[in-house]
Symmetry: C2
Subunit: 395 residues, 2 copies
């Protein structure tokens, strides 16, 4: 049983914990979305988003969950009956498939399997043998498994076959590098509630000029709320204007969160996430537990750990939450009960990982696993102690 008197720690990959300044700004008086005070916040957010996406594109903002931005890409880029390729490795990658089916696109599924990476060579093979695809949909950080794909290589392969590539970076953007313009990624979608350190409710799509042009040329019924053209036209006005009432408190939060990312520095933010991921994996190794995905120094968003055979996996998140106040996620879909997932994307520091590993050790031991207390913690401590980058999230 949860008691409200246990200090709570949120260690899930969305919603993620918020810096205090982000939480506080939402309690300020609501602004009229056409008043100068809000327009300033809105315009600044749109500029700051470009820096995190590392792009000159307009980053289109929607009041929606991350799936809304994913839908915007499918709705704007596919046509009923036309072929599209979905290259997935988990639950969220398969959402692309559901979306393509909803919109009537003729989707081919390259399924790398839950816990594996999408291999560029496999993408090359499928694109080569299966006729002409105009769009490839894939994932940066697959939140259901912790796997982070090599988007740079996948982009090169897609382009070699004349296809655009659309990347779900909902949990990855702001945690691991995806320099959109440098890598030439055609479309990157993201959400507010992961590494961007905001509550859920804002979704983003950064589309290249070529992708926008393709969206405009699209025949037949068009989306309305998720129409890229409508949103781009509004955001390109001076001052920028949202075609629908923007979620003003969430933009106020985003403005503060993006300022924090700027102040820490995007490279430093990525380095901090790399350190958190390295420490988590070191702890898993020291505890002689298995990672779900490949040992990968780039998988720094979510650490997915296989549950030892002796333990009932479904009980771990429940006991960690109810006994220790630490909320982690279990497995989804086919991985239900088989893994636990510790997130470290966003407002996380060394002692979030250390506390979570400590609670995991206590929980596994209580559930009958052979765990020596402190072993994982010590491994994480060594990683943080030896690091030359700060391990703490900014205040």
């Amino acid at each position: 049983m949860t008691t409200p008197f246990i200090k709570q720690y949120l260690m899930t990959a969305g919603p993620t914990p918020l810096p205090p300044a982000v939480s506080q700004v939402m309690a300020e008086p609501v602004l009229y979305h056409r008043a100068p005070a809000f327009i300033e916040v809105y315009a600044r957010c749109l500029e700051r988003l470009k820096k995190v996406f590392q792009t000159r594109n307009d980053v289109l903002a929607f009041a929606a969950s991350g799936s809304g931005a994913m839908e915007s890409a499918v709705a704007n880029l596919t046509r009923p009956g036309e072929p599209a390729l979905v290259a997935s490795c988990g639950k969220f990658g398969e959402r692309w498939l559901e979306l393509c089916e909803a919109y009537g696109a003729d989707a081919t599924h390259l399924d790398a399997g839950w816990g594996s990476k999408v291999e560029p060579a496999d993408l090359d093979r499928v694109l080569g043998e299966s006729g002409h695809f105009e769009v490839v949909f894939t994932t940066l950080s697959e939140t259901s498994t912790g796997v982070v794909n090599d988007v740079r290589a996948l982009t090169d392969v897609a382009h070699a076959h004349g296809a655009l590539i659309v990347v779900d970076a909902v949990s990855g953007l702001g945690a691991v590098p995806i320099p959109q313009d440098e890598w030439g990624v055609d479309v990157v979608v993201a959400g507010s509630q992961k590494a961007l350190m905001c509550p859920p409710g804002l979704a983003f799509a950064s589309a290249s000029e070529e992708a926008l042009r393709r969206a405009v040329d699209r025949a037949g019924p068009r989306p309305f709320y998720f129409d890229w053209q409508r949103t781009a036209a509004g955001q390109r006005k001076d001052p920028p204007d949202s075609p629908f009432t923007p979620a003003v408190t969430l933009f106020m939060a985003l403005d503060v969160a993006l300022r924090s990312i700027e102040e820490e520095g995007l490279a430093e933010v990525h380095a901090r996430h790399a350190l958190l991921g390295t420490a988590a994996r070191a702890a898993v190794g020291a505890l002689e537990l298995e990672l779900l995905g490949p040992e990968d120094e780039g998988a720094n968003v979510v650490t997915a750990i296989k549950v030892p055979d002796a333990v009932d996996g479904a009980r771990i998140p429940k006991m960690m939450r109810d006994r220790f106040g630490i909320t982690i996620a279990g497995g989804q879909g086919q991985l239900k009960g088989r893994i636990v997932r510790i997130a470290h994307c966003g407002y996380f520091g060394a002692f979030d990982v250390i506390s979570t590993i400590a609670a995991l050790e206590m929980t596994l031991r209580e559930l009958g696993a052979d765990v020596e207390l402190g072993t994982g913690v010590a491994a994480a401590q060594r990683v943080f102690g030896e690091a030359d980058v700060p391990a703490a999230a900014p205040a």
Copy 2:
């Protein structure tokens, strides 16, 4: 020029001001959307929404602007090439037309004109002479003009012709009565940022069983994010589950706001809005200004006032904001510069109206109109003084 040292008053019809307890709860720690602490909030919001919609339907909730819920109705209920009737009287009514066009429905437009009501007799005539329409789209409170339509009568007319009726109640719900089940309204859509006293970012659609069935039977490409079936299936689970990450801070706010509406009592909330509207219209009359719409004791959401010929209308909202810190809205579209709009839907009390009228008098006088200071204020004071219902919004 706005200075940050002028005390600010938000008198627009969305975003609207929030009760302090609603603002404060958003600064509390973010909850994981699958944790018991949030599920409790979410389930309670879904139940509380039914009481405000006065329905036994599931009120489907989306992370979106109000237009997203409107799109959900068009996407789920229309089919490309099939006839639909849009009965509008302003900018937001015309959004139904844009949505129908986006989805390829064959829309007929009954345009009552900006500032008029949609007359049930006109709806009856058009439905009678123009073949069979399966769906009528219309508006409860037309935010662009202040007009409130007689939804009860329009519903009866639509049903007499065998059509479903879908009502945009984004700014009306929680301000003026729309007892959905009693009147038999097939679909009511609403948003969080008007009379529901929350920030923008949540949108709602309450669809009858018949409307849901029609949505399910719909052939061809389906929406995904705005699919009623998917959201209804999630919300009907025990405990209820959102198919996409819900906007948790906005649900935390909604929970507090809906509790406030329950505590005040829905009938009392409607009576308070009626009083605010009556006082605003009395002030307009005493100032010998003209209302845009018909003199209507049911038009209690927004009071739209024609700008006197001697005055440059665009300057009024700007001067009220910059000199007096009071944000009202001007006219939109064809009414730009010709009206000003004072909202009183949501967290508003007597002295919000009195302060706004006082500032309007000062502004009009400064811009060259022949206004005797205090005339409008006194008329509003008399209305509030004689009323036997409380004029203050709940603390």
